[in-house]
């Protein structure tokens, strides 16, 4: 087993800053923009994005967190079901531009479940997907709108995103099994 560091702390921060600028550019500022993070690490990245938008634009976008367990398409197969954590979207999503944030996009199934969940909260004017790492191997026709880093990976590898809030430091590691 060998670990390869593909992003260090500085590059994680620079990448998030770049994504924030892309979001503001594409949406002509932060008006009508809301940030929704997918549990667990997507929430930390979403919080950083909201902080930076507040710094640059002077308004803090509303923030929600999503647990997609109840929307998974593999509940009928999974041997052990995950614990259901809290979803908190304490604001109206109608006609909002929803920035959906996850740490890694892989098969696309998590993103699909998250989109379905968001639709149950209202009718946003758009949903835009942010991911820090796109590791390929999509099984559904879903593509991120903002990507931190695109990696060519093997299915046998694992991509680990470590964030200060949860793991003590910012780092992205590819683990070979």
């Amino acid at each position: 087993m060998a670990d390869k560091v593909v992003m260090d702390s500085d590059s994680v921060n620079r990448t998030i800053s770049r994504i924030v600028n892309q979001i503001l550019e594409r949406n002509n500022g932060a008006a009508g923009v809301v940030i929704v993070g997918i549990r667990t690490r997507g929430v930390h990245i979403a919080t950083r994005i909201a902080n930076e938008i507040e710094k640059l634009e002077g308004i803090r976008p509303e923030m929600g967190t999503l647990d997609i367990t109840l929307y998974r398409d593999d509940l009928r197969q999974k041997t052990e079901w995950p614990k259901v954590e809290k979803t908190e979207v304490p604001f109206d999503l109608d006609d909002k531009k929803v920035i959906l944030v996850d740490d890694v996009i892989y098969t696309g199934r998590t993103t699909r479940a998250a989109i379905e969940a968001i639709m149950d909260f209202g009718r946003p004017s758009s949903i835009q997907v942010v991911t820090l790492i796109d590791r390929g191997h999509r099984e559904l026709p879903i593509q991120p709108d903002y990507t931190g880093l695109k990696l060519n990976t093997l299915s046998s590898e694992t991509v680990r995103v470590h964030l200060k809030e949860a793991d003590g430091k910012d780092e992205v590691v590819v683990v070979k099994q």
């Binding site: 041997t79 079901w81 909260f121």
Partner: protein, 309 residues
Amino acid sequence: MAFERKHILGLEELTAGEITLVLDTAESMREVSDRDVKKVPALRGVTVCNLFFEPSTRTRSSFEIAEKRLSADVLNFTTIHSSVVKGETLLDTARNLEAMGASMIVIRHPMSGAPWLLAKELNSSIINAGDGWHEHPSQGLLDLFTVRRLKGRIEGLKIAIVGDILHSRVARSDIWGFTKLGAEVRVVGPPTLVPKYIEEINAKPHYNLEDAIEGADVVIMLRIQRERQDSEFFPSLREYSRFYGLTRDKLKVAAKDVTVMHPGPINRGVELSSDIADGAEAVILEQVSNGIAVRMAMFYLVASARRTS
């Protein structure tokens, strides 16, 4: 921790850890009821049958809403039998429902132990919605959930359960649940309605209302079934109400932030005076709302255990 039980039959057999997992999961389920679209796809394709051998409006409706919010297909089967239902008939009925594709059966039955019989004989998951005088686990769990949300904990709280303890399945599930999570449970009622074995299940018996609710953080009032007044357990409703009915005056000896609960339906002026039932201490309607989240959690966890077994 994974939930490994295919059935939820009673709180006596659940561990403190399993109870806590149900309560934690219910916290997440509660939010679904606040959404525009109050439905998640978790149990799509699963058929749940509500098999009720006793009249029930709120419990059956609550189970049904919980099933529908998880996208299960719901089959309601209600039979009201005045005589004892023979084991064979019950089993045949349940086997028929299983043959129709039900993989979870919610059962309420006047005979204690009926859900255990089904659990032993069928492949379906069984959820006990009340059996005889024995257990009513979903009510016990929703009472625990309601108290934990309000007080932030269960451990160390003083809980008083008031009324007809003998015939109450709610009392028994509450006693097992609250004591397992570290609360002190007192029960109070006329001596004819407080069973002798109550100390063996770690509840302290009282026969005077004020003694039992002194310093209590939570007072759980049980419904007096009016049909009991003819069976010589107490002389009259009026006398019962005088000694064991909760009024604002009697409630003064309880803790300052006391919470009053009742599993419903309430007899105004018998167990509870109207000013308490409608007062700030009462959380009776909150119990009803919480019941949906707790039952959703029960279904989710039982369904997940079916996968592993």
